[in-house]
Symmetry: C2
Subunit: 409 residues, 2 copies
């Protein structure tokens, strides 16, 4: 039997009416003979409401208990979706993370999936039932309930699709697919029919909200085709494929993350291994860093600048102040008003002058570039937050992304 894994996010199942529409969509697919596994998030703002309740009781609730609490959100939506399918004469069974055999490590609130015992899901599928799995949650040793943290339901869906050797994994959202830029910023943005895993990973990592990078990583690792599709229309969405299957284009999209911050440790004594030491200290606190730049030392001191998500800023400043004292540096300064604008595209590695074109697009509009970082298929510029919209539109225009058509190779 061919299996398809579908994931429905919180807005797609936000009301009983929307749940009923999702049930109809699933039954339509099932009628075509496919085995359907539906991964579901908590309804609408359920998770936020549960967190509010916890905050009324504790300023710092134990993570184990928070996972116990939050996992109820998905348990509610899976049971309701199963009821909706039954009500339409279909057959379905809902399953918690524990019941569907999603085994994780024990890091509450940010657990990693270790293994999926697929027989729990395969049996009802073979009996002709739609299997509805609670996203975002798993179980660790001793039947302890864990949650997967950010992007949890996308991750559940991709991991299940890989474990079940599904034909594809469809991520349903409230947008039409992946665009060349955020349509709210750039009205000329066009939907991409195809994109490579690597490009999607860079876009997702650079602020595109549509799909979580963890899910893309899993899909990439297992060569799994991912689709991002609209939940409440029948658009074709965007298919995320292995790069080799796609005609290369220089630049696929432009994206921005305006919730960034910049921290600098000034005048650190310039010894080998300083950057590694800073990285290590931040990683131990669970703080991930986008960019770390060590300026060329003048004399025997150097400045180290770090760019990271703004939500980590306060904790990072605390860690770095401690280190600054230890290392006898001059001190720590920070700026919460920075943004990162990135272009992504599998063709840029072989096409010279792409970076220069991007910098020119910004320079023409007198947008100052504070820092630059690049990967194989991505160039990011750190700029002041107030320029984000203008920068994204400028790049989108100068690279003619509004006319982009991507074909299979």
């Amino acid at each position: 039997m061919d299996i398809i894994v579908q994931k429905y996010g919180g807005t797609s199942v936000g009301t009983p009416e929307k749940i009923q529409r999702v049930a109809e969509r699933i039954l339509g697919l099932e009628a075509s003979g496919m085995g359907v596994v539906a991964v579901v998030s908590a309804m609408g703002d359920t998770t936020d409401r549960l967190i509010d309740m916890a905050r009324k009781i504790s300023s710092n609730p134990p993570r184990r208990e928070l996972d116990m609490l939050l996992s109820t959100g998905e348990q509610i939506s899976i049971s309701l979706l199963s009821m909706a399918i039954h009500e339409r004469g279909g057959r379905a069974i809902s399953m918690t993370g524990l019941q569907s055999g999603i085994i994780t490590d024990s890091r509450y609130s940010e657990a990693k999936i270790r293994e999926i015992k697929t027989h729990r899901i395969l049996k009802p599928l073979e009996e002709g039932k739609v299997v509805i799995v609670a996203g975002f949650q798993g179980v660790s040793r001793g039947a302890e309930i864990t949650t997967l943290g950010r992007g949890g339901s996308d991750t559940t869906a991709a991991a299940l699709a890989a474990a079940l050797k599904a034909k594809s994994c469809e991520i349903y959202t409230d947008v039409d697919g992946v665009f060349t830029a955020d349509p709210n910023l750039v009205p000329e943005a066009v939907k991409l029919d195809y994109i490579s895993h690597e490009e999607m990973l860079e876009l997702a990592g650079s602020g595109a909200q549509v799909l979580h990078p963890r899910a893309v990583e899993i899909a990439m690792k297992f060569g799994l085709p991912l689709k991002v599709k609209p939940a409440h229309s029948f658009g074709s969405g965007t298919t995320i494929l292995e790069g080799s299957m796609l005609e290369k284009v220089v630049v696929t999209g432009v994206t921005a993350d305006k919730d960034m911050a910049k921290i600098a440790i000034q005048k650190v004594p310039d010894r080998p291994g300083i950057a590694a030491k800073l990285f290590g200290a931040l990683a131990r606190e669970g703080i991930s860093v986008h960019l770390i730049i060590q300026s060329i030392g003048e004399g025997n001191v150097t400045d180290v600048t770090i760019v990271l998500k703004r939500e980590y800023m306060e904790r990072a400043v605390e860690v770095l102040r401690r280190l600054s004292k230890q290392l006898k540096a001059q001190g720590v300064i920070f700026d919460a008003n920075v943004a990162e604008v990135s272009i992504v595209g599998s063709g840029m590695v072989t096409e010279p002058g792409v970076a220069a074109r991007m910098f020119r697009a910004l320079a023409k509009r007198k947008i100052n570039i504070e820092l630059i970082s690049t990967s194989h298929i991505r160039i990011s510029c750190v700029i002041h937050k107030r320029h984000v919209r203008e920068a994204v539109r400028a790049i989108h225009e100068d690279f003619k992304l509004g006319k982009l058509k991507r074909r299979l190779a």
Copy 2:
């Protein structure tokens, strides 16, 4: 270590503030060196809200999915109560039905507890943690989530107390204890300090809402002392003990169930085994009957009258109409406006004239008695619903229950 099991009902944990008060009460008890297991119901109207959501999606949701949905209610309250204990510097761990080893049969929505694997609870208790267990739920073969139906959390508490050989089981409620009559009906009603399991069972079965009969049955079977105590004051409540430990009193209380119905099958051919046949057909549909009375046959036909909870009436009428045809009876009539008023007391079996005194109390107020049933320690009269308040007050007055003082033997 001495273990106490406490149960907090939905109103006792209805708001974050009330949860915090419960946390304080538990920590107070724990400070005295006891091991505390707290069984918690869903907050306030959570269960009703979940049922409403299900009804918006399905007129007849599958029971398995309903259990999946409803069990989230207790999971929310256990995690919040655990957070509240942590916030106060205590140590606690919340556990779902599955995690606490409450094994049930597979009858969704009305599961029976088969076994409790106590090691799951004993380990954290020995580590000095308060163990907070989700009431009302368990797990059947294959990690399927079940719920226990009516009185579920009381049942969980009593079963846990028996399995853990607890010193006592305290049921916290929003009333001060068990009264000689419902204080809303009879202002003169007094709180009972002691009552026997058997008397409590009859009171609970006859409309007293304070404690579910299933919990009392378990306590009686295991000789477990039960206490009914007020959740938000420090009253001593009512202690439910083995009958032999108590000074016998003729009548302990008067109670009423005004949500009853009466059904009669008229002119059934009078053959042996008719009552058994009717009972059997109703039991197969899960309908329990309070009373079944076969009138003395006139000629070769007889009338059979059944008294049962009003909620079962429609289904029972359906079953009985079918049977009536099969048996070639004349037909089925029913009346939803009846109530049952009962007196309960361990002394009435040896005291002659108790029934007569009860009938006189009603007759004096011109209240017609439609049917009578008795047990070892209970006499019940079926009357018209409109007379309930007057009947209860009359009996309470004539038996001088307002002056009742019960002592240990």
